[in-house]
Amino acid sequence: MPELTEISEDVRIYEFCVLYPSNLSQKEESTLLKDVETLIEEQGGKQVSKDMWGKRGLAYRIKGNDEGNYVVYHYELDPSKIQELDESLRITKNVLRHMIVKPPKGYEITKFSASYETWLKERETEEDRRKKEKEARLAKQVADKAKRQVKKAAKVASEEKEEKPEADKKKISEELDKLISDDDLDI
């Protein structure tokens, strides 16, 4: 995309964004877009770019709409006519929200309609990857725990085994000693 450069001093580049409901018929939609474009062009605007975002879910309900379509225009326009345009866009039928922004110097026009979709796909794959990693980590933890438990059980069992015979031996030897040392014993 070419970088924005203002040609003359009395003309600036402005960004127009319009949000309209997604449940409009095709005819209504085309008339609305035409209305907006003619409205700006009547004031001496020259179109630089047009970006149709298509249907997108809204973060909150606006006038009973959960979904809306976005259009982003870039126009070369005389700054004195912005206020008038703002007013007339507010009155335009079927426009839920509109915004006029003056992009800063050196702003590059990027089409967000395509990049958003790629981002969505990438995000899905990333989420999948994270999920898999988490599952793998959990599985490893469980396996480790099971191993540790088995080891512990084995250790305890072996200790018990080792201890018992020793104690038995001691007891037996003690008893034997007693028997031997017993004077009253006669065989």
Binding site: C17, A59, G68, V101, P104, G106, Y116, W119
Partner: protein, 77 residues
Amino acid sequence: MSKKGNRRTDPKDKKCPYCEKNIKYIDWKDYPAMKPFIDYFGNIMKRYYTGVCLKHQKMLKNSVERARFMGMMAYRK
């Protein structure tokens, strides 16, 4: 050095993620660029936790508010 400076080193260690990428302007239409600095409830996260520099935090605030107005982001989840 005071004890306090030694203990709390993390906010100073963080570097502005926008500065590292050399971003000059945060576009309100660029949702993926703003998303990491928004919490679950839709609030802009504090600079203390994200490490964003003041210049970019102001820019971020501006663009998030624009995105909220246009229905791209939630005011409150």
